[in-house]
């Protein structure tokens, strides 16, 4: 019994992580306080990192946790702490577009889900590839996709300049 559990352990864990990620995502819609929404998003991201690890791309899982949880969500939590605006009792959670939003999303999920479920045999024709590690990833990143790499560094410089400009504008506006 333990042998069969061990053999299918990665598939079982994949289903568990997928279910937990979906639960975390749905909680984001329902929770009232922004800090709890942030915690739900962090848990979804960590479960997604677990899924990436199960698929064999450990470095992408490490980057997911390092960049998303360790930088993006820390910034988000920091800003929620600074603004410290808790949803007051009278403030509604949802905008006026709740009902059309839910209906449209259900149609959207239905259409795409049907495509994924029933169009899938067409995808299986692609050959099962080999697992690649960080070595092959680094080689292909810096030889085949070097232009994208350089353009991304330009984007980051633009982001730094924009952040500095925002600080300067806000300092000038408020002394």
């Amino acid at each position: 019994m333990i042998e069969s559990l061990l053999q299918h352990l990665d598939t079982l864990l994949l289903y568990v992580f997928a279910a937990c990620a979906l639960v975390g995502a749905v909680l984001m819609l329902v929770l009232r306080q922004p800090m709890r929404v942030a915690m739900a998003l962090i848990s979804t991201m960590v479960f997604l990192g677990g899924i990436y690890g199960l698929l064999g791309v450990h470095f992408i899982a490490a980057f997911q946790v390092l960049i998303y949880v360790g930088a993006v969500m820390v910034f988000m939590v920091y800003v929620i702490m600074l603004l410290e605006i808790r949803e007051s009792a009278g403030m509604a959670r949802y905008s006026a577009l709740v009902v059309p939003g839910v209906v449209a999303t259900a149609l959207f999920v239905g259409a795409l889900g049907y495509g994924v479920w029933h169009g899938y045999p067409a995808l299986i024709r692609a050959a099962a590839g080999t697992r690649f590690g960080i070595h092959q990833f680094s080689i292909s990143f810096l030889t085949e996709y070097w232009l994208h790499f350089e353009l991304t560094s330009v984007l980051l410089v633009a982001a730094v300049v924009a952040a500095l400009a925002v600080i300067k504008v806000s300092r000038r506006a408020h002394g």
Partner: protein
């Protein structure tokens, strides 16, 4: 029910939930977080296809999306901060001065 099918369905679900969150929620920070969720859904589908085909294209694109998402958040949050400084609320319906 294959592994790839489940992951692609999860990616669709995450993207749809994120989109619904951006449309439904009124708090600006929660809307930003739902946009991050949409990006995560797309990342999952890219990693799934990269795993299935065994090529590194998907992983490279995922890495670039990480960087772009970080840069986007680094600009979006100061914009939110400046808006909050004007109206002292995070409610989206308070910013209607461009409405016809």
């Amino acid at each position: 029910m294959d592994k790839i099918q489940v992951l692609l369905a999860l990616s669709v679900a995450l993207f749809a939930v994120g989109l619904l969150g951006v449309v439904i929620r009124r708090n600006m920070l929660v809307m930003l977080m739902c946009m991050e969720l949409m990006l995560n859904g797309v990342n999952l589908s890219l990693v799934t296809f990269s795993h299935q085909l065994g090529s590194t294209v998907g992983a490279v694109l995922v890495f670039l999306i990480f960087v772009v998402a970080t840069a986007e958040i680094a600009i979006a949050i100061p914009i939110v901060l400046m808006l909050v400084r004007q109206k002292h609320t995070l409610d989206l319906n308070a910013f209607t001065s461009l409405k016809g």
